[in-house]
């Protein structure tokens, strides 16, 4: 009974933090207009967040600059690569589905890695299952595993503080 109570208390706490975060988001984006409507939306969004078991995210600020620089460079390279392939018929497409063995067991790192892989050069993840990330690559010859591995290391440092 007491563990159920503790569980409920933790959920309420997480919900309150999400609600505050979403409400702040609303205030910034809507320039503080219609705060009541914003609060209702924030409460709904917080309820969904708790419902899908979205726990709190902690970021190691010391790992943030390296991550941002890495990410912006790769984003630029990825968009440039796809632009070249789109307008230049001579640059070949050699798409395939490949599996990337995940090194991390951290759920938040896996989730973010799966989402952000789509912004790296030539890679796009659909999901992860049994320790493997399913990735669509534009060119099989390209060293896609190295790019994903570097993103994984950055995210591990950023979200867990562990040096991979």
């Amino acid at each position: 009974m007491s563990s159920g109570k503790a569980n409920l208390w933790r959920k309420l706490q997480t919900g309150a933090i999400w609600c505050a975060f979403y409400f702040l988001l609303w205030l910034i984006l809507a320039a503080a207009e219609a705060p009541l409507f914003g609060l209702l939306l924030a409460m709904f969004a917080a309820w969904v967040s708790v419902g899908i078991n979205n726990t709190r995210w902690f970021i190691r600020l010391s790992a943030l600059p390296a991550f941002i620089i890495f990410f912006l460079i790769e984003l630029w390279l990825g968009a440039w690569d796809v632009a070249r392939r789109a307008v230049h018929p001579a640059v070949p497409l050699n798409p395939a589905w490949v599996s990337y063995p995940l090194k991390t067991t951290d759920e938040q790192v896996r989730l973010l890695l799966s989402a952000l892989t789509g912004l790296l050069p030539g890679t796009l993840a659909s999901h992860y299952q049994q320790g493997e990330l399913h990735v669509h690559v534009l060119d099989q010859q390209q060293d896609w595993a190295d790019i994903i591995s570097r993103l994984e290391s950055h995210l591990t440092r950023l979200l867990t503080g562990i040096q991979p």
Partner: protein
């Protein structure tokens, strides 16, 4: 000088949007098309926002635009992944059905 740099960034951002759309039309399958749209549009919007930031007269406006970019990036990365997952599942279903 700043005005010229801003104009250059706005044009460059626009060009990436156009190229993303060219990729959408030219690439052979759904997954490759998703690559084109997600990457080119995310960078395109980033460059447009950078270009507009150079013209902004308040820091708050710049931060707001950066914030919008982050949110758009988060939603496009997520949507792209969900679309790829959905298409992969439908491909599997249709190949299972045809066997």
């Amino acid at each position: 000088m700043i005005e010229a740099l801003s104009t250059l960034l706005l044009w460059l951002g626009g060009a990436f949007f156009v190229v993303g759309t060219v990729g959408l039309l030219r690439f052979p399958d759904v997954y490759s098309r998703l690559h084109a749209l997600t990457k080119a549009d995310t960078l395109g919007l980033g460059l447009v926002i950078l270009g507009l930031s150079l013209r902004a007269d308040r820091l708050a406006t710049v931060l707001l635009m950066l914030f919008i970019w982050l949110l758009v990036m988060a939603s496009s990365a997520t949507a792209c992944q969900l679309l790829a997952r959905y298409q992969l599942q439908s491909d599997k279903d249709s190949s299972d059905g045809s066997e």
